[in-house]
Symmetry: C2
Subunit: 399 residues, 2 copies
């Protein structure tokens, strides 16, 4: 139980000593040096350079810099990732672009397990366009068979936010392309959690957020990957001035940037971007295969420990490690108070209605001792039913 | 020259001693205490509370808190302002909502002086909708006469970003409503610069950014005001999960929040929001009429000093103080190198192609001595033509 896993980097994080943090799938912890980073951008750049910092401190190109830090983590080439805004907005851009690429098709295919904002943004786009598009949300296991020639775009979240079940990116993308559909992969629960090869999947688009396994901080900017061969054929739906070819020409007509940068919209949130830039440096020497090996070892151990100690809980995450991300979820009708009791004991996971307890396993700051200790605490809570006494403070994690 | 203007609050700002900052219309300077604020949110909230901070540190309601700080500054009631994203996105939401309120009309009326991103976002919406809408951009002085029964929405930036000329909010809104058009006012260069009474104007929408005269920081969140009587009749075009009536129900179908909060989209940029919350506290005891009086005194003094000392420069800002915001612009064919020479001497304004030098006058941190000193330095640069030797480093301020 004391073997050091290859990817353990606890010293990079500032996690309180008495906490076992199993919610990095919702909000990753701060990288050490984050306060100094914020001090520097506020005092030295904003404070000293003022407006000049857009150039002298590299603010203007920061979204591109960060995009190039994200690129290797999701398995794509440099200069193919635009960053900024939120995942909802980046997905909207991808969906609108996908529909513009397939003007004669009317079906948007997702699944009933997708994170709701993805479905809401799609429905909002459909309503704005008002041209008879339909959103289909079959159960996740029926997606592959639902892909046909009427489908304009297949958009799915790779790792299910509740169960941790993974979709087959390669297989679904291949099937979609066979029938002429465009694909968008939402990597919210994948980036920094599992190895990704988005370029070799040939998907047209991928989107994601950076505040989960990438540890960019609350409300950190989102990203969009666009397959390079289609970039110049797309005029984004949200045509902001920073996506213009020459923003400071202040032209009345929009002319998109020649690159993926055309997916930029308005002013980047510089302080969040600087914190994200710092957090992304961690990934420069992370071997994703090693990370995956650690993740599988830890999630397997967690499943084994909990099932042995707490047989009344029901595993809802796939038992086959190939079929899950870096998260383990258990169902219980008492899931909400049990999670509250765990949090009171310093084991932080989260709860998703109606009955799911989620535990994110981030190998950069968790080891086998943490996993066993968390399982022991959960066992005590279940055996003694101390969850019946827990305070019912709602934890509303932004997934 | 040493009389203290009523609104001077230099002690609240951390501006370098050798700088006269005349670019707060592009990026306001940091409020003193900003680094401590960032430290606290990063170390104590994100670092210690981790995911729990969404509740324990009030992150979830922060956009609403900040909206209520902005409300009095733009002259509207509490709980009518939603915050987040960028101004481009908030304008898109307002435009889409306006068109949904006037489904039988096809003209979007703005003007050729509007900030380009507003026009780009409108054109992007028109293209996405693809229902024959047209964007009209007459010269600013012809807007009033261009408002007719074919116009669905009039959207204008109140204070022109180049010239500082103000539009007549009351008059244009009244004319628009007479013919059944909806209005959207972009307050980018107005909020924190001039007194505003958006509620009594009866405009349906107002949008703005917070990193100029409100000093929220680079990439600070934007805002949207929606007239309370129409909120519930609008389903926003960008329907993100945080605009849902019950985000954590994780429903497949979008049901908008009962309030203006339905204009929220995705995860708020918490660290930027905290800095903005700090900056907005300054406005709690600012009398906007006093601010306006100081602004007029300082802009008038600046015009007088520059015209006397530098007759070769051409004023492009209205001479009548009632017709201008808190900015003064001069034109010169050598505007770019002149501005560079000024910046090298510590007087920071900015340049807008083809020939405009902009000077933002923020009475909270500028006094008469600063204005005269800046004019003296500009006079020296013009007399000695030292601008011919200035380094040509492009200043790309985000307007």
């Amino acid at each position: 139980m004391t073997s050091k896993l290859p990817l353990l980097r606890k010293e990079l994080f500032d996690i309180p000593k008495d906490i076992i943090y199993l919610d990095g799938n919702s909000l990753g912890p701060p990288i050490r040096g984050s306060t100094e980073c914020a001090d520097q951008v506020i005092s030295d750049e904003w404070g000293q350079e003022l407006i000049k910092a857009w150039n002298t401190a590299g603010w203007m190109s920061l979204p591109q810099t960060v995009g190039n830090q994200i690129a290797p983590v999701i398995g794509v080439s440099p200069d193919t990732v635009a960053t900024g805004d939120t995942l909802s907005i980046k997905l909207y851009q991808a969906l609108a672009a996908a529909l513009s690429l397939r003007p004669d098709r009317r079906v948007l295919l997702s699944d009933a397990g997708n994170f709701p904002t993805d479905l809401y943004m799609a429905q909002g786009l459909i309503d704005t366009m008002d041209r008879g598009h339909k959103l289909r949300t079959p159960p996740p296991e029926e997606v592959l068979d639902s892909i046909n020639e009427r489908v304009a775009v297949v958009f799915l979240t790779h790792v299910d936010y509740r169960t941790g079940r993974v979709h087959d990116i390669e297989g679904i993308t291949r099937r979609a392309h066979e029938v002429g559909a465009v694909t968008i992969w939402d990597l919210a629960h994948s980036a920094g959690a599992v190895p990704l090869s988005m370029e070799s999947s040939h998907t047209e688009f991928a989107v994601g957020c950076t505040y989960k396994y990438l540890n960019g901080g609350p409300g950190a900017p989102a990203f969009i990957y666009v397959r390079p061969d289609i970039v110049t054929s797309i005029t984004p739906a949200l045509t902001g001035w920073l996506g213009h070819r020459d923003p400071f020409a202040m032209e009345l007509k929009y002319r998109p940037s020649a690159s993926t940068e055309r997916f930029r919209i308005g002013s980047p949130s510089i302080i969040q971007f600087k914190l994200l830039e710092l957090a992304m440096r961690v990934w420069e020497d992370v071997d994703m295969a090693e990370l995956r090996a650690s993740s599988i070892a830890l999630t397997s151990l967690f499943i084994e420990e909990i099932e042995r100690r707490c047989p009344m809980l029901t595993l809802v995450t796939p038992r086959d490690p190939e079929q899950r991300g870096s998260q383990v979820s258990f169902a219980s009708e008492h899931g909400y108070p049990i999670m509250q009791a765990l949090i009171e004991r310093g084991v932080i996971g989260d709860f998703r209605r109606p009955n799911i307890m989620r535990f994110g396993i981030a190998p950069l700051y968790l080891d086998e001792n943490d996993i066993v200790k968390a399982a022991e605490i959960l066992e005590e809570i279940m055996k003694n039913e101390t969850w019946r006494e827990s305070k019912y403070q709602q934890i509303k994690g932004v997934t």
